[in-house]
């Protein structure tokens, strides 16, 4: 047996533990790392799809609209995408921890509501920010309690919180009336978060970039991130290794909610208002962005850079469609199609370029079960 077969053993193929050799004929090797890896089309190509789609969108709209590829417009797009980016990064953390958070929109809404109400009540900006984050964190705390203490599956728990949070919103706003802030009465310190700029860069964008950098490093370079990932993928194995799996999960839901809450405060600041249920619009986009981003990883693992690619795809698509004069009616269609195309291509490329050990028809059969294991 050659060492080549060891390299070509596809790590994703969980069904064939035995095909990978513990070959006894290989001489004891002194090199432990740094052996060259061969280019593997089935591993590399699927991971390129999302970036290629992103580039394609850039090119297409640049050709269709003269305004699109201007620095002003692109900066505007990034600024627009900042809130979605914050929410989606929060979702990334939760998905990395093996869950999903449908209530992230509620966290955003309640934070925006609290911040707007605080400003309307004449409180200072930092108080508004604190109250906003506190409301958001409350949502995260409820999620964490339901999922960790009661062991309810995250999808169902956060779905319930979505229900309840929506009602709470309506109750707090007297049946869902928006709160509009008088621009003149909003302190600059608050308005700045959504509308200010540092060195020409919009502050929401600064927030998003900082948060992205910190969360990226946290997930990929620290003990917490490593343990969170392990817990998300194999909870029992992590627990056996002495990890505090419950606390790790709690930290993920809290961080997810906190980031959404930050997004909510920025949204309230940007719009000088709280409009009920505006957070819900972000939930599905955030999930879509996270999973588009997950195609960038060979394990289908959610990551911050991947998520940002997903966010950009959605943001550029929306902006470009606006510029070429398509009504917002079409946006859901475009987003849905983009999501389907990226994810399906990723799967198909993984398949078709693979060394045909397994016939295609059978691989199709194998796919759902391997995806679940």
């Amino acid at each position: 047996m050659t060492t080549d077969t060891q390299h070509t053993t596809n790590p994703r193929d969980d069904n064939s533990p035995d095909t990978s050799p513990g070959s006894r004929t290989t001489p004891p090797t002194s090199r432990i790392s740094g052996e060259p890896r061969r280019f593997r089309a089935d591993v590399v190509l699927p991971r390129l799809i999302a970036p290629v789609v992103l580039a394609g969108i850039l090119l297409a709209f640049s050709a269709l609209s003269p305004v699109f590829f201007s620095s002003d417009n692109l900066l505007g797009v990034l600024n627009q995408a900042a809130i979605l980016a914050l929410v989606a990064i929060g979702m990334t953390v939760v998905v990395r921890a093996g869950g999903i958070d449908l209530s992230i929109g509620v966290a955003l809404d309640l934070a925006a509501l609290a911040a707007a109400a605080a400003i309307a009540g004449g409180y200072r900006p930092w108080v508004a920010l604190t109250i906003g984050l506190a409301f958001g964190l409350t949502v995260g705390l409820v999620n964490a309690a339901l999922i960790v203490l009661l062991r309810i599956p995250s999808f169902m728990a956060t779905l319930s919180v979505w229900f309840i949070g929506t009602s709470v919103q309506q109750l707090l706003t007297g049946g869902g009336a928006p709160i509009y802030l008088q621009k003149s009465q909003v302190p600059d310190g608050f308005a700045l978060w959504g509308n200010g700029a540092v060195l020409g860069i919009p502050i929401p964008l600064v927030f998003a970039v900082l948060v992205a950098a910190v969360v990226y490093l946290g997930l990929d370079r620290t003990r917490w991130g490593r343990e969170l990932t392990a817990t998300g993928e194999q909870r029992t194995a992590s627990r056996i290794s002495g990890k505090r799996v419950s606390w790790l999960a709690v930290s993920a839901y809290l961080l997810g909610a906190a980031l959404a809450a930050l997004g909510g405060v920025v949204l309230a600041s940007r719009t000088y208002a709280f409009i009920p249920a505006s957070g819900q619009l972000y939930v599905m986009d955030a999930i879509g962005a996270v999973f588009i981003g997950a195609t960038l990883s060979r394990f289908g693992r959610a990551s911050v850079p991947g998520t940002l690619v997903g966010v950009l795809i959605f943001a550029l698509l929306a902006n470009g469609m606006n510029l070429i004069g398509l009504s917002f009616f079409w946006q859901g269609l475009a987003r849905g199609v983009a999501l389907l195309v990226v994810l399906l291509l990723a799967i198909l490329l993984t398949r078709t370029t693979r060394v045909p050990v397994i016939p295609p028809a059978l691989r199709r059969l194998l796919a759902p079960s391997t995806a679940r294991s």
Binding site: G99, I100, L146, L150, R151, I152, P153, S154, F155, M156, A157, L159, S160, V161, W162, F163, I164, G165, T166, S167, V168, Q170, L171, G175, G176, M284, I287, G288, F291, F328, F329, W330, Q331, G332, L333, A334, R335, G336, V337, L339, L340, L343, L344, I347, L348, R351, R364, L365, A367, P368, S369, A371, R372
Partner: protein, 334 residues
């Protein structure tokens, strides 16, 4: 003989391990009866024939769509992130209503309009099913379809309410079959057909097997993809039926309604677990859950509780259900 003695002895330990606390199996039904009793006592209008009929009518939409979602969950497995889920049911139902209304509005015969709407739904189901068959996670495939169907709904309706007129639709709203409102009759028919198919036919049992353990099904010589694919078509078709029932009841197709009913449909399908011995999603459980949720909504309205509390109540309800399931699961799982 050693073996003859050893085997029965090993069995003595079993009863301790097997089964959940028995009272829990009935807790779900108990809660239903309790809530109905409370409403019956607090509001004299609750148990009147007219109100019961209205409640059943309300339940019909969620139940019919819920049956479809239940089939998807049964066949795809109930792990939500990777298992079977159809998030597009609400949007597809909304789209079906709009297509029927717009088609009827252009002068198409109501039956043809309905056929067109159902065709549209099935097409959505085929896309969902194909994407999942290729290997996409159901959550994501149907999330995309939810966006697409919702968007199409806006495009077709122009984001305005489309009135639904025509004798067929009026019959769907007001007519009766064997003394039952048409919507209720449709619900019972759908329940009978899909319910029997899932529990009494090989196709149904195999669907359960596929959902439980696709590898086991494959090893047993089944083709899991076929069952999964079909489940999404069934789901979309039933969502279409539900959408037409809903539009008929409201005499118009209301854009954006799809997103609202999605949560109720998901609630109803997952709640069915509480009414099942095997702790799995079931058709019968879905029916009971739909009736329960409708009764709850209706009862709250009769008691004059503000509508925003209904959402909160549903949220709490689903949590109670899930907590019960979690406790019960701890009893059986080892």
């Amino acid at each position: 003989m050693s073996t003859t003695t050893a085997v029965p002895e090993a069995r003595i330990l079993k009863p301790l391990r097997r089964g959940a606390p028995r009272w829990l199996a009935w807790a779900g039904y108990g809660a239903v009866v309790l809530v109905v009793l409370i409403f019956a006592v607090s509001s004299s209008a609750f148990l009147t024939p007219g109100n019961i009929s209205a409640t059943l009518n309300q339940a019909a939409v969620f139940a019919v769509a819920g049956f479809g979602l239940a089939v998807v969950i049964i066949t795809g497995g109930d792990d939500v992130v990777n298992g079977g889920i159809d998030l597009s049911v609400g949007a597809v139902a909304g789209l079906a209503g709009t297509v029927a209304a717009v088609a009827a509005g252009t002068g198409m015969q109501p039956p043809s309009a309905i056929a067109l709407a159902l065709l549209m739904s099935v097409a959505a189901g085929i896309i969902n099913g194909s994407a999942v068959a290729i290997g996409l996670r159901p959550l994501l495939a149907t999330l995309a379809m939810m966006g697409i169907a919702g968007s199409l709904n806006l495009v077709i309706s122009g984001n305005v309410k489309v009135p639904l007129t025509g004798t067929t639709f009026e019959w769907l709203r007001d007519g009766r079959v064997a003394g039952l409102p048409v919507a209720v009759a449709v619900m019972l028919l759908a329940f009978a057909v899909v319910g029997l198919a899932m529990t009494r036919t090989t196709w149904g049992i195999r669907s359960y097997a596929v959902g439980q353990n696709p590898t086991a099904a494959r090893v047993a010589g089944l083709n899991p993809v076929r069952y999964v694919f079909v489940s999404y078509i069934i789901s979309a078709a039933l969502a279409g039926v539900a959408g037409i029932l809903l539009a008929s009841r409201l005499s118009s197709a209301v854009p954006g309604l799809g997103d609202q009913i999605l949560l109720d449909i998901v609630l109803v399908a997952f709640m069915s677990v509480v009414f099942s011995r095997r702790l799995v999603v079931s058709l019968g459980g879905t029916l009971v859950a739909a009736l329960f949720v409708a009764a709850l909504t209706n009862g709250f309205t009769l008691l004059g509780v503000a509508s925003q509390w209904v959402g909160a109540a549903k949220g709490v309800l689903i949590l109670v259900v899930l907590a019960v399931v979690a406790v019960r699961g701890r009893g059986t799982a080892r």
